[in-house]
């Protein structure tokens, strides 16, 4: 860890003022100023010397203003500083947006969920070990242009969807896949106080040739919250997470599914997110399309899964993952169809 200064913002104006960047170009993860929420990802990476911000701006004081969990007929509003545990346990979220509650509840540990904020959660960075350990020379995400040690190394936990020939890191989070599936929006403020809203699916970027640029946030921009539109599918929803151990483990594969079924079991609408093996939070429009108008059964679920993984690219240790991903999605769809709501 390197020396840094710590400032605390009690309100939004102060946060944006303190967060304002001299140079607002480049990737926000590499900027000299970082907002500090729960700190459970940022401080880890600083201790590992992977992130070396010079200034931290503590935004936990904004929780009063941006800690909301509010549902109305049009949807669900979640503040950036709502804690993972609070949202997971919220009775309305549990009943009406079960996939969100599941995704949060199955993530990390209770202690971490008590600390961690929603915005920090969606912005968590990959667990690729070659990225998190600076003694590895080759990591395009950490040192642009240095290569990728994982490509032919230990990569069992990395991605097969959305990868590039520069980086196969996975986006490790759970909640973001559910947000992507439900077509959420994210609200962002810039240093000048301007607000913009973008589809959650557009918050993160694919690695392509620039894996070190992970999101479309500019340095100094602050996430204030998320808006999840209501829909007849949000109740019949769940998040299925497949992992080596029963708890406190990142997903090898996961599926966020939300279904609107007709009385005869026909899929009127499906919302499908994929996790664990994706380069960024992932919504599979292909799988959704494959299901729409079909009766949900083993065969249609399998076709949807085929569609979801059609573009998978595997490496030395990830050959099994598309198959596990497909089975995960099929299982999630069939289990969601069986839910009593």
């Amino acid at each position: 860890m390197r020396p840094f200064s710590l400032e605390t913002a009690d309100d939004l104006a102060e946060a944006l003022r303190l967060g304002a960047q001299e140079n607002a170009a480049g990737a926000h993860v590499r900027a000299p100023m970082q907002y500090l929420a729960g700190g459970t990802n940022l401080l880890d990476l600083m201790k590992l010397d992977v992130m070396r911000p010079e200034r931290l701006v503590n935004i936990n004081g904004l929780q009063r203003q941006y800690g909301m969990i509010e549902a109305d007929g049009a949807g669900l509003t979640l503040g950036a500083l709502a804690r993972m545990s609070a949202v997971a346990d919220d009775p309305v979220v549990r009943r009406d947006y079960r996939v969100l509650s599941d995704a949060l509840r199955l993530a990390a540990s209770q202690q971490l969920r008590n600390m961690a904020s929603l915005a920090g959660n969606v912005l968590q960075r990959t667990r690729c070990n070659y990225f998190r350990d600076t003694s590895w020379g080759a990591c395009n995400k950490r040192e642009p242009g240095s290569g990728c040690a994982a490509m032919e190394g230990v990569n069992r936990r990395l991605a097969v969807l959305g990868v590039s020939d520069r980086c196969i890191a996975n986006y490790p989070g759970d909640f973001a896949n559910a947000l992507a599936a439900l077509g959420a929006e994210v609200t962002v403020l810039d240093g000048a106080g301007g607000t913009r809203t973008l589809p959650f699916e557009e918050l993160h970027r694919l690695p392509g040739d620039t894996p070190h640029i992970e999101t479309n946030l500019k340095p100094g921009e602050l996430i204030t919250g998320f808006r999840v539109p209501a829909g007849p599918w949000t109740r019949r929803s769940l998040y299925l997470k497949i992992r080596d151990r029963e708890s406190f483990d990142f997903a090898l594969t996961s599926a966020a599914v939300a279904l609107d079924l007709g009385d005869d079991g026909t899929v009127r609408e499906a919302r499908i997110g994929i996790g664990g093996l994706v380069a960024k939070p992932w919504r599979s429009h292909e799988a959704e399309a494959a299901l729409r108008g079909r009766r949900l059964d083993e065969a249609s679920a399998a076709e949807a899964a085929e569609a979801a993984f059609a573009d998978a690219v595997v490496h030395s240790e990830t050959a099994f993952k598309p198959e596990l991903g497909r089975r995960t999605l099929v299982r999630a769809l069939l289990e969601a169809a069986r839910l009593t709501i």
Binding site: M1, N129, D133, G153, I242, S247, F320, L324, R331
Partner: protein, 758 residues
């Protein structure tokens, strides 16, 4: 100790559940682990470790690091390399070097030490050091180009050739033949690897968690070229060791050197990832296991060949075939072990070092044979059970393997098992039931103890023994209380300090047997002195009695006819202060020089498989239920039952924890634990406990432990066998066998993962 006539009392705490005497101190934070011990004005060390596995250090750029304010010193091979020698390993001979030269033997090797006014400064400076290497292509593992294989020579461990196994395998009615593998595993005790060193008037004090304070003392003295008498090692509490704190490692001497150089105490708390490379770990192994049998299930041949991975200079290997060769009656046995050298750090002890990896192939093969023959796996073991050691014809001091199977099977509900693979399920989950034998040699070492007794009935035991979380403090208190007729609360125990009488290495499940015998001996001599004085005095109720018949219990010295004298009076007759006895116990079969060996820091251990009177082992049976999801193939373990016959149990409460902990570890070793190594760079990749997985609570459902009462008069006078390690043995095989039963798939490479079952 109900069976010893001298102390036969109903009130003895021996064998009764006793809460830990140090439990309160531990949960209230008052127990001082070595890095908690206060030292004046310490400086802090941060280790520099190599980022390559093989090559040389061409140059360090230290300018930026030295410029960080508060940096006191940076030790490298150039600045301090001549100031210490490498430690002597417990096992396997030579090991890799660290700062002694520019040579890099393995990933994460200590190549420097930054010393600064605070931990944070030292860490920051360490991040600013640049190292220029001359890299050489490293060999990571078995089969890597450049890995060197050799056949193990007989020496520390033995191999066996009984009859002609190869000929029998070639002509037998039924054979099974399989290749197996176990991965690199790391102990990851929650207490990190720490060392604090302070010099005063040329004398060095080391605070470091240790399973062998005399061993560490002797080693560091040798490394620094000083008199062992000038070194003191303090390790009062150890936050988990499992073998990883058994031998001296290079870091200790370098921290001592650093403290001498900066003329201040120096404190090191190595990071979690450094713990993967600066100490030892469980080596990766491969096995070729072949069995031959008659159609009715009698084994006719066993051939077990092992391969073990180690560092370039070390011959570290384990005695696994010494156990597998003895498990079952078999007329033709051949064992062989090969050592493979690669560019890795030197491995070492980890819970049941030989038996965890070696029993895996044997117990899987027995299951496979049972399936092949259509014989129940338990019955197959019964057919081949024996009271005679098949390698040398000696009898086992006691062996209740089948009692363990029978009691365990009953509790587990084995009779409900449908033997056809894939035949049992529960909802979307396939169900599998598996079992395996467990065994672990009963070891005991020479050790000394000092016991003092005050007239007020308070005893103090001093012994440089080690409580590595097992409950050894409590065992000592129970033993002294039993022998002196006191309650455990009346006994103060001092351990974990090399200024106390020497105790051997806390490893090999030997420590309870070792320390109870030493404490019993010292207490016995105390009792004899009191009894002699009481019987030879002219007055007093016991005058003229035979001192050998007097019993100490419940605070009284009592003759067979009921005449008694309060302990207070009996002690006061000798002294108004405290009576004190120092005694050394050298177990049967060890040479009289054993104590001298121990004082020099080497463990004088009698091993159950090497004895010339009996073969001494504890036995057990492991039962596991697994669930495998029919679609996504996660493997979960809702139930485990372990039944063990391990002699007399001193404290059933802590014994239960030991067994249970071992079984849970077995679950982790079978399904989760694996240190991943990058094959091109020979470097560990998941060197943290976020990605090096051990079971969490949610993985551990019902775990039942059955302790089978066992009287063994031949293993040692108190009939105490070790229990610290047997709990893990065989669990990996029981799980693999259960997975086979659930899915029909034999997985012979650990850990068993989702992708193996897709």
């Amino acid at each position: 100790m109900a069976e010893d006539p001298k102390t036969a009392t109903a009130g003895s705490p021996f064998g009764k559940p006793q809460v830990r005497i140090d439990g309160r101190a531990k949960v209230t934070g008052r127990a001082l682990y070595p890095s908690d011990e206060p030292v004046g004005n310490p400086a802090y060390a941060f280790l520099l470790t190599s980022a390559i596995a093989r090559g040389r250090i061409r140059r360090f750029d230290l300018g930026e690091a030295r410029a960080v304010e508060g940096v006191l010193d940076i030790l490298t091979h150039e600045t301090a390399g001549g100031e210490a020698k490498p430690p002597e390993m417990q096992s396997g001979g030579k090991t890799t070097t660290t700062l002694e030269s520019d040579r890099v033997w393995h990933d994460g090797q200590i190549i420097g030490v930054v010393v600064a006014n605070s931990y944070e400064i030292a860490r920051e400076a360490a991040f600013r050091v640049r190292v220029h290497y001359e890299k050489e292509a490293p060999s990571a593992s078995f089969g890597s180009p450049g890995a060197e294989e050799e056949v193990r020579e007989p020496g520390e461990h033995k191999d066996y050739r009984v009859g002609n196994a190869d000929a029998e395998l070639a002509s037998a009615e039924v054979t099974v033949d399989g290749w197996y593998g176990t991965p690199t595993q790391h102990h990851n005790p929650i207490e990190l690897f720490t060392t604090t060193c302070a010099w005063e008037n040329g004398k060095l004090t080391i605070w470091e968690p240790s399973q062998f304070v005399y061993g560490l003392r002797g080693n560091v003295a040798g490394q620094l070229g000083i008199d062992p008498e000038d070194v003191r090692v303090v390790s009062r509490f150890v936050g988990g060791a499992f073998g990883s704190k058994g031998g001296a490692t290079a870091r200790t001497a370098w921290i001592a050197v650093a403290a001498r150089r900066v003329n201040r105490p120096v404190k090191l708390v190595a990071t979690r990832d450094q713990g993967f490379t600066i100490v030892t770990y469980r080596a990766e192994t491969r096995h070729h296991l072949q069995l031959a049998a008659t159609r009715d299930g009698r084994l006719t041949a066993l051939r077990h060949e092992g391969w073990e991975l180690t560092s370039r200079p070390s011959d570290y290997n384990v005695s696994g075939t010494e156990t597998t060769a003895r498990m079952y009656a078999c007329p033709n046995i051949l064992t062989k072990v090969n050592i493979v050298h690669a560019d890795r750090n030197t491995p070492g002890f980890m819970r049941a070092p030989p038996d965890t990896p070696y029993m895996f192939p044997l117990e899987c093969a027995m299951d496979e044979l049972a399936a092949r023959l259509g014989i129940d796996p338990i019955e197959l073991r019964r057919i081949n059970d024996t009271q005679t050691d098949p390698t040398n014809g000696q009898t086992f001091s006691s062996r209740h393997l089948m009692d363990c199977f029978d009691r365990g099977a009953e509790r587990f509900g084995w009779s409900r098992r449908d033997p056809r693979p894939g035949s049992m399920s529960n909802g979307d989950w396939l169900v599998g039931l598996g079992c395996a034998s467990a065994a672990y040699p009963s070891n005991i070492a020479a050790t000394a103890a000092r016991v003092s007794l005050r007239p007020d009935g308070h005893a103090r035991v001093q012994i440089a023994a080690h409580d590595i979380g097992t409950g050894a403090y409590t065992v000592v208190a129970i033993m002294a209380a039993d022998q002196l007729g006191l309650a455990p609360e009346q006994v103060t125990v001092e351990m974990g300090d090399s200024s106390l009488p020497p105790a051997s290495l806390a490893a090999g499940s030997s420590h309870t047997a070792t320390i109870t015998h030493a404490v019993a001996k010292a207490c016995g001599e105390l009792r004899d002195r009191i009894a002699r004085a009481a019987t030879t005095s002219n007055n007093g109720p016991l005058a003229g009695r035979d001192p050998a018949t007097l019993v100490l219990s419940a605070g009284r010295l009592t003759a067979p006819d009921g005449a008694a004298e309060p302990l207070v009076d009996a002690v006061k007759r000798l002294t108004p202060g405290a009576l004190e006895v120092y005694a050394e116990n050298i177990p049967k079969g060890l040479s009289p020089e054993a104590m001298e060996t121990l004082y020099k820091g080497k463990p004088p251990m009698s091993r159950g498989q090497n004895r010339e009177d009996v073969t001494a082992y504890a036995f057990g049976a492991q039962f596991v239920e697994v669930r495998v999801h029919s679609r996504t193939r996660e493997i979960r373990v809702p139930r485990m039952v372990g039944a063990f016959a391990s002699g007399r149990i001193v404290n059933p409460l802590t014994a239960h924890s030991q067994y249970m902990g071992g079984m849970i570890w077995g679950l982790g070793a079978a399904l989760l634990e694996k240190t991943e190594i990058d094959p091109r760079h020979a470097r560990y990749v998941n060197d943290n406990i976020s990605e090096y997985h051990i079971p969490v609570n949610a993985d551990v459902r019902r775990v039942e432990v059955i302790m089978i009462p066992e009287t063994d008069r031949d293993v040692n006078p108190l009939g105490v066998k070790g229990i610290g390690e047997i709990g893990i043995v065989g669990v990996n095989a029981a799980i693999a066998n259960a997975v086979f039963h659930a899915t029909g798939k034999r997985i012979r490479q650990l850990p068993i993962r989702i992708e193996d079952l897709l």
